[in-house]
Symmetry: C2
Subunit: 434 residues, 2 copies
């Protein structure tokens, strides 16, 4: 056992790393201020306050509201269609203009450079739920939503290969110019658009700039928090990712996260037409206008296997809550003569032989839909033919109930053999789980 | 085979009866008028015309409209809670005042006496979908809805025991006085209520009398037509009955008909709180005020079995559309040395040994989320440990996909055995259907 444990650690990258690379000491009341990531924490805490202040002190212009919504979607798509599906997962290929376009929009969401973002995200997929996952859902809703950005992490994320990104000119250009791009696109640009467009500099700054950024930030954060808590796991339940419509709604379609973690380099997050995945539609549109190609899809056959095994697991669990009838092996075996003798005893039991089993139907006979008399007249006889259609072709539920009343199996004799033979063709058309 | 057929007929009441009791010759253009059930046909064809005439010539009074709806529900419940669930199925027991109350209301729906109605209905359950079923769904939507009432049936319904009803004083009283009761309750009574109540004799007759009757009739008829066509079969699919919300809506809750045919003497038709079954609620209310008792329910365990076997059938069908990986038996078995030799061939194949199988990953290597290099470096080696967590603990979908790439099984040798042993503890946490 100790040997096994040792072997496991030797052969498992995560276990090995967690053992060999120590983590920072936990935060305490005396050192917390040294452990805060001050630039990020300041930005993330200030922006909702500034947005609130703006909301209460700025009058609304419909043009600004419309532009705010558009700018929310555009910078949001910079993350979902750009950072996430294109750069982190390479789920499709994009021509140079589109790459720059998405990199610029992505910078406007102020979430770091595409390279930094993808590096963390690849570690998140590779080490999901472990301590090498930078925003592991096992550390709680708050931590995976925003906590991991407010404080210095206790350990650095596990290794992830980003050589494709460090060799990419467009990604490198954005990485070098990230700070100025981010500042310009998230604050300057929206202020200018609304100011020069319809004279609303103030609204442009507070709404299309700051308020929009609050929404874009928490929208992305929800993919790491909500999408790992809310909903169900139709494809695999080994790890925390979950599918939920509400998460999709607030994340431009990234809410089918159980699917996404199973099939990360699929350009889709939602498969069904009625599920909300505007990012998927946008990528399909990019393909249509020849800016994107090689949209990757996992084979339908493998996707089905996920659904199948989860459905089967649920069904097996359901089946486990059902009491099934006794089988031959659990019952005494008696002769037909013995059955006849027992039937005549005045012990309150009502015994009926059907399909090789002897049933005690005393608790049921009074509520029999076919009446008491029909059963009574078959006590001590073989009622197989009568039960299987000779008198009434009982439904499946009747067969299932009957099976629960088994008290013995019967070695056929005389009359029984005779009837059984004539009954050769009779089957129960749907399976009866006996 | 001929012998088997003969045996089947001998041992099956329905087959025997259909063979021995001839049916009437089919209707033709020359004899149709002798084959029409004139009294019923006249009533059923005239009533919608009279209702229409009334609709266009009578002004609406809100009191009449309210009473019409109430009278629709009351006479409807006379059928569903009375005729159907109490008298035909004995799904609960009712005290004498309630029995009379329901018999009187039932007469107001003009569907024959409770005894006549139950006799046919018991045959419908006992011989569902066969020619001994008086309104067999196999004869088409029109026939099972109303056709069986318009024409003289080609054969009489199969035997059904109604001795409980012929021995029941209340049922016999209603049977003897049916015609006057029906006339009084369906036409005279509503006319008087509306006339004496708020002076609207004409509205009382046309709306609460005739129009209401049209709805009550076709509502009941829908249980025989719609409920045998529309919806799905969550409990058993041997026969035509189906569950559907729309059917329930138009039939005061009788639309969960697949359940009802499986569990006919259950006082409920719908099990779930969100399904519409007002008749069930009414019976529960009768119990509350001590007018009803012994409400029958089929054991939950047997109801679950129905759901389980239908779900399993659907899942098996779904599983059948999936391509599963090749097993040992379908693959050549080669030695580890042979695997190493084949790996070195420049034939375009990329061979990787994982968990005892050799996989040709050449079509996948370029889209591998972990990159080309990691796989390349394991060609000709045993990559089991790497794949199972040594480098990356692959998700279930990756295992499933990998299994599809099997080209051979490997007799372990040297290096392999050694690694395999250290790997003893590694399992794939969720089942992989291999
Ligand atoms: C011994 C010979 C039996 C005969 C001849 C017989 C006959 C019948 C008949 C004629 C009906 C139809 C009642 C109606 O719809 O009005 C019926 C229904 C039913 N019987 Fe029996 N019965 C027998 C034994 C049993 C036993 C032992 C069970 C115990 C599970 C059983 C369970 C049922 C059930 C659940 C129904 C209602 C479902 C259906 O219509 O198929 N019967 N039976
Ligand atoms: C030969 C040794 C292999 C190694 C060392 C390896 C390594 C990796 C790594 C590091 C990742 C994570 C990529 C990321 O998230 O950035 C990964 C993902 C993946 N690999 Fe491999 N791989 C190997 C073989 C294979 C093979 C033969 C298949 C064929 C089915 C495969 C299928 C996948 C899939 C589907 C994923 C994405 C799903 C997941 O994150 O688990 N791998 N692999
Ligand atoms: Fe995630
Ligand atoms: Fe992702
Ligand atoms: Fe029916
Ligand atoms: Fe019924």
């Amino acid at each position: 056992n100790e040997q096994e444990e040792e072997d496991f650690i030797k052969n498992n990258y995560v276990a090995r790393t967690l053992l060999n690379e120590p983590e920072l000491p936990p935060m305490t009341w005396s050192n917390w201020y040294t452990q805060i990531n001050w630039p990020q924490a300041t930005l993330l805490c200030l922006e909702p306050l500034v947005a609130l202040y703006g909301l209460f002190t700025t009058s609304f212009m419909w043009q600004t509201i419309v532009f705010t919504i558009i700018w929310y979607f555009l910078t949001g798509f910079g993350i979902t269609a750009g950072y996430h599906r294109l750069f982190a997962h390479r789920s499709y290929e994009a021509r140079l203009p589109l790459r720059y376009f998405l990199l610029i929009l992505g910078a406007g969401s102020v979430q770091g450079s595409a390279q930094w973002w993808s590096r963390g995200h690849r570690a998140h997929h590779r080490y999901t739920d472990t301590d090498l996952d930078p925003y592991s859902a096992h550390k709680g809703m708050f931590y995976s939503h925003i906590g991991w950005l407010l404080f210095k992490p206790r350990r650095k994320p596990g290794v992830a290969d980003i050589s494709d990104l460090t060799n990419d000119k467009s990604v490198q250009w954005q990485h070098r110019n990230y700070l100025s791009l981010a500042f310009f696109l998230s604050f300057v640009f929206p202020t200018l658009v609304c100011g020069l467009g319809w004279g609303d500099y103030r609204g442009g700054y507070f709404f299309a700039g700051v308020l929009r950024l609050v929404f874009v930030h928490h929208s992305t954060f929800c993919v790491n928090s909500l999408a790992h808590y809310l909903g169900d796991a139709p494809f695999d339940d080994r790890r925390t990712p979950r599918d939920h419509f509400v998460t999709a709604l607030v994340t431009l379609g990234e809410g089918y996260h159980n699917f996404h973690h199973e099939f990360p380099s699929d350009y889709r997050n939602a498969l069904k037409w009625f599920q909300y995945d505007p990012t998927k539609c946008l990528i399909a549109f990019f393909k249509l206008i020849r800016l994107a190609h090689n949209l990757k899809e996992f084979p339908q056959n493998e996707i089905k296997k996920g659904r199948y095994s989860m459905a089967r697991k649920a069904l097996d669990k359901f089946g486990g809550t059902i009491t099934w009838p006794k089988t031959n092996a659990e019952l005494p075996i008696i002769s037909f003569e013995e059955y006849q003798r027992l039937s005549k005893q005045e012990d309150g039991r009502v015994l009926v032989l059907i399909a090789g089993f002897i049933h005690d139907v005393s608790n049921f006979i009074d509520s029999h839909p076919g009446g008491r008399a029909l059963i009574k007249s078959h006590v001590g006889k073989d009622a197989t033919v009568a039960f299987y259609g000779g008198i009434h072709d009982h439904n499946t539920a009747a067969h299932n109930m009957l099976a629960m009343m088994r008290v013995a199996a019967c070695k056929y004799g005389g009359e029984v053999e005779h009837i059984k033979k004539r009954l050769g063709h009779v089957q129960t058309p749907t399976p009866i789980f006996a």
